[in-house]
C-alpha cells in the first residue's frame, strides 16, 4: 500500500502496531544521540562551527542567484552540463532524455533524496530502463518496494530477518542469516551492476561554486563506483545545495558526519568536476547536473526560507520523540521527522501534507541539535497557521480539537509524548488552533537545550510503555 502524508493518522496507527518497528526505533533513539554526543564532545569548536555554517547558508540564500550562476559557469567550463528544472516532471524527462541519448538499459543509483521526491525509479521502469539502487539501505527498500524510512538510514525499519527473506526471495541463492554474509551477498550482486550500467545517477550533498564541483558524502563507496564506471554521470541536486568555496565546505564537513552518525569523518567524501579529462584512464565521458527547484525558489524571502539551510544530517529525526515513536513511513512523504514536517508541504503541497506540521510535540530537540540551527518548531507553527488560514483543514481540525483528541485517545502515543509537550498540544487545542495568537509558544520552543545524551524523560516513558505492552492498546 502506498502511504500518503494525507493519511498520517492512519499511518501512525499502523506503525504503532508493529512490534519490530518499535524495537529498531528504540535502539536508534538510544544510540544515535550518544554517538553524536561523543563526537561533538571531542570538538570544542562545534557550537562555533554551527554558527558559522548557519551564517554561510544564510549568506548563500541571500545571494542564491549569484552563486548558482557562478556554479553553472564553472560546470560548463569543466565540460559538464547544467539542466535547470522547475518541476519533478521536467527533471524526470531530462533524465530520461539523457539516458535515451546513450541508449541506456541499466542505471545504477547512489543515494539521492531528490530522486525519491520525483519518484524516479518508477518512472524509469515505466520507460523500460532498469534502475538499481546501490546504497545498501536503498537497495533493501527497493527490493521491498518501499520508500526509505529515514533520510540517511533508508532501511532502518528492517530487521535482519526481513533482509534475509528479501535477499533470498530476490537473489535465490542461500538464506543467509548473518549480517556479514548478507552484506557480502549484496556486495556481490551490486558489483556486477556497476560494471553493466550505462548511466550512474548520484545525489549531491553540496555544490561548490568556486569550481563547479558536486560533492557526495558516503560510507559505502557505492556512489563512487556509480559515478566512475558508467559512461554518463548524472548528478541530481536541488538549488539550495550550492556553497561558495572548498573552505566553506570544510566547515560543513566538520558538522555533517558528527551530527549524522557520530563519525568524525565519513569514509568517502567525493568531489566531482566535469567528465573525464582527455588523458584520464577512467571516469564518465559525460557529466550532467539536474538542478531541481520544485517549489524551493518560492520560499526565498518568506518566513520559510530558513528550512533551505538543511544539510540532511537527520539529527533532528534521531532526536525526535514523534519520529522515534512512529518511524519514517508514517509521514507518507519523501522527508520524515521534523525536517520532513517542515519541508514536505513545499514538495507535495500544504493540503496534502497538512497533518505533518502537527506531528510535533514542540519539545525543541530538533532545533537544539540542528547543525545549521534551523528553527524547525517555528517553521511548523507557520505551516499550521497557514493551513488554518488557507482553510485547507477540515472543520474538525480547524476547531483545534482534532489533533489533541486524537493523540490523547491513543494511550501509547500519549505516553510517549507525555514528557515532551502534550501539555502544549492541549493548550493549542484548547485555543482553537489559531497558533499565531499564542505567544507563549515561543517561550516553549526558543533554544531549549536538552539534557544529553539520552533525553531521559522520553526514554523512561518509552521503556515504561514497552513494559506495559499488553495492557496498552495502540
Amino acid at each position: 500500500m502506498e502511504r500518503t502524508a494525507r493519511a498520517f493518522k492512519e499511518n501512525v496507527k499502523e506503525a504503532l502496531q508493529q512490534e519490530n518497528l518499535a524495537g529498531v526505533l528504540d535502539i536508534m533513539s538510544k544510540f544515535s544521540p550518544i554517538g553524536r554526543n561523543i563526537a561533538i564532545g571531542k570538538l570544542p569548536e562545534f557550537e562555533a562551527l554551527r554558527d558559522d555554517a548557519r551564517d554561510i547558508k544564510n549568506h548563500v540564500l541571500a545571494n542564491l542567484d549569484f552563486y548558482l550562476e557562478e556554479y553553472e559557469a564553472k560546470v560548463i567550463e569543466s565540460g559538464g552540463h547544467v539542466h535547470w528544472c522547475e518541476t519533478h516532471e521536467e527533471a524526470r524527462q531530462k533524465i530520461l532524455e539523457i539516458c535515451r541519448s546513450v541508449d541506456a538499459k541499466l542505471v545504477t543509483k547512489g543515494k539521492s533524496m531528490i530522486t525519491e521526491e520525483m519518484h524516479l525509479n518508477a518512472f524509469l521502469e515505466d520507460n523500460g530502463i532498469i534502475p538499481v539502487e546501490t546504497d545498501m539501505g536503498e537497495y533493501i527498500v527497493q527490493l521491498a518496494d518501499e520508500p526509505p524510512s529515514h533520510i540517511i538510514g533508508p532501511a532502518i525499519h528492517k530487521t535482519k530477518d526481513e533482509v534475509t527473506e528479501l535477499f533470498f526471495k530476490h537473489h535465490k541463492t542461500q538464506r543467509w542469516t548473518e549480517g556479514e554474509d548478507l552484506m557480502l551477498e549484496g556486495r556481490k550482486i551490486l558489483r556486477e551492476k556497476y560494471f553493466e550500467a550505462d548511466v550512474g545517477i548520484t545525489g549531491a550533498n553540496f555544490l561548490i561554486a568556486e569550481s563547479g564541483t558536486s560533492v557526495i558524502v558516503t560510507n559505502e563507496g557505492n556512489g563512487d563506483l556509480t559515478q566512475s564506471l558508467p559512461k554518463v554521470h548524472i548528478v541530481c541536486a536541488s538549488l539550495e545545495k550550492v556553497i561558495p568555496s572548498f573552505e566553506d565546505f570544510s566547515q560543513f564537513i566538520r558538522l555533517l558526519p558528527r551530527s549524522a552518525t557520530g563519525q568524525e569523518i565519513s569514509v568517502y567524501t567525493t568531489f566531482s568536476t566535469g567528465p573525464k579529462r582527455a588523458t584520464d584512464p577512467d571516469g564518465p565521458e559525460d557529466y550532467h547536473v539536474v538542478l531541481l527547484d520544485a517549489g524551493r525558489s518560492k520560499l526565498l524571502g518568506t518566513q520559510y526560507q530558513e528550512v533551505l539551510r538543511c544539510i540532511r544530517c537527520a539529527a533532528c529525526l534521531n532526536h525526535c520523540p514523534v519520529y522515534t515513536a512512529v518511524g519514517g513511513h508514517a509521514y507518507g512523504a519523501t522527508y520524515q521527522g521534523p525536517i520532513g514536517a517542515a519541508l514536505d508541504p513545499v514538495i507535495v503541497g500544504l493540503d496534502e501534507a497538512r497533518h505533518l506540521p502537527n506531528a510535533s510535540s514542540f519539545c525543541g530537540r530538533c532545533e537544539a541539535v540542528c547543525p545549521v540551527r534551523i528553527p524547525i518548531p517555528k517553521i511548523l507553527r507557520y505551516w499550521r497557521a497557514e493551513a488554518f488560514e488557507s482553510k485547507s483543514q477540515p472543520l474538525k481540525e480547524r476547531a483545534g480539537l482534532s489533533l489533541w483528541t486524537w493523540f490523547a485517545t491513543r494511550p501509547k502515543l500519549y505516553r510517549l509524548l507525555a514528557g515532551a509537550g502534550v501539555a502544549v498540544l492541549a493548550k493549542a487545542g484548547g485555543a482553537k488552533g489559531h497558533l499565531k495568537r499564542f505567544p507563549f509558544l515561543s517561550g516553549w520552543t526558543n533554544h531549549r537545550e536538552l539534557p544529553a545524551p539520552e533525553g531521559k524523560t522520553f526514554q523512561a516513558l518509552y521503556k515504561k510503555a514497552q513494559k506495559e505492552k499488553g495492557r496498552v492498546s495502540p
Binding site: D52, S228, S245, Q251, V267, Y268
Partner: protein, 225 residues
C-alpha cells in the same frame, strides 16, 4: 529548458531582492569566492613536527585502516608483500601508473605480479600513492589523472596506500591549497577523500565492513620522506 532557467532565476532574484545589488556588492561576492577565506579550524589540528604523523596515524587507525610505519621505499615494497601474505591474498597487484611509486621498484619485485592502469573487476589488490593526506581525520586525498586512475581506490577489495611524511598536512584547508596549486586553479575530474575501508550500517543497524569499496585499507607510511 532556457525558459525554466530564466523562470527559476527570476523567482530567486525576486525573492532575494537581487535587483538592488550594486556593482560593488557583486565585487564583494566575487571576492568571497576568490579569496577562499578560511573559517574555524579545530585547535587540535594545530600540531607540528612528528606530532603531525602521530595525529594522522592515530586518526587513520581509529577509522579501521591498518597501518605500517617504514623508513624507506624498499621497506615499503616489503610491506606490500607482507600485507598480501598476512591476508592470504594472491601475489598480484594493480598499481597506479605513477612516478610517485617509482622508488618502490615494483618492476624488480620478482615473484610479485604487477600491473598498471585503471581498475577492472578482477583486480583484488591495488597500490596507490596519495596526493596529500590530512592529519585532522586521517584522511587521504587522491586526485584522478593520467597517472592516478580513481577506480583503483574503489574497485579492488584491498587497497594499499603509500603515504609519505611529506604528503601530510594538518587541516582540510591546507589540502585545498595544495589541490589548487596542482592545476593552476583547475581541479581534476575527481578529488577523493579516503578515510578508511568501506562500511555500511544499513543491515539491522550494525556496522559491517566492505560494503562496496575496499574491505581492507592498509596504509604504508614512509617516515622521513
Amino acid at each position: 529548458m532556457t525558459d525554466s532557467r530564466a523562470r527559476i532565476l527570476g523567482r530567486i532574484k525576486a525573492g532575494v531582492n537581487a535587483p538592488n545589488r550594486s556593482a560593488a556588492d557583486i565585487a564583494v561576492l566575487k571576492a568571497r569566492i576568490e579569496n577562499a577565506e578560511r573559517g574555524i579550524i579545530p585547535a587540535f589540528t594545530k600540531v607540528a613536527g612528528t606530532d603531525v604523523a602521530d595525529l594522522f596515524l592515530k586518526k587513520a587507525e581509529a577509522q579501521n585502516n591498518t597501518v605500517a610505519r617504514v623508513t624507506s621505499a624498499e621497506a615499503a615494497l616489503l610491506e606490500v608483500r607482507n600485507f598480501l601474505r598476512q591476508n592470504n591474498l594472491p601475489a598480484k597487484v594493480k598499481i597506479s601508473p605513477s612516478d610517485r611509486l617509482d622508488d618502490l621498484k615494483f618492476d624488480d619485485a620478482g615473484d610479485l605480479e604487477v600491473h598498471r592502469g585503471a581498475a577492472v573487476k578482477e583486480d583484488v589488490t591495488s597500490v596507490t600513492p596519495v596526493y596529500c593526506a590530512v592529519a585532522e581525520t586521517g584522511t587521504m586525498v587522491t586526485m584522478s589523472g593520467a597517472q592516478t586512475p580513481s577506480t583503483l581506490n574503489f574497485v579492488p577489495e584491498n587497497h594499499v596506500v603509500i603515504v609519505r611524511e611529506s604528503d601530510l598536512v594538518t587541516a582540510y584547508e591546507d589540502s585545498w591549497d595544495k589541490v589548487r596549486e596542482y592545476g593552476g586553479g583547475k581541479i581534476p575530474r575527481t578529488v577523493n577523500w579516503l578515510s578508511g575501508p568501506s562500511r555500511s550500517g544499513d543491515i539491522a543497524m550494525t556496522m559491517y565492513m566492505g560494503a562496496h569499496g575496499p574491505r581492507r585499507q592498509h596504509i604504508i607510511f614512509i617516515e622521513g620522506q
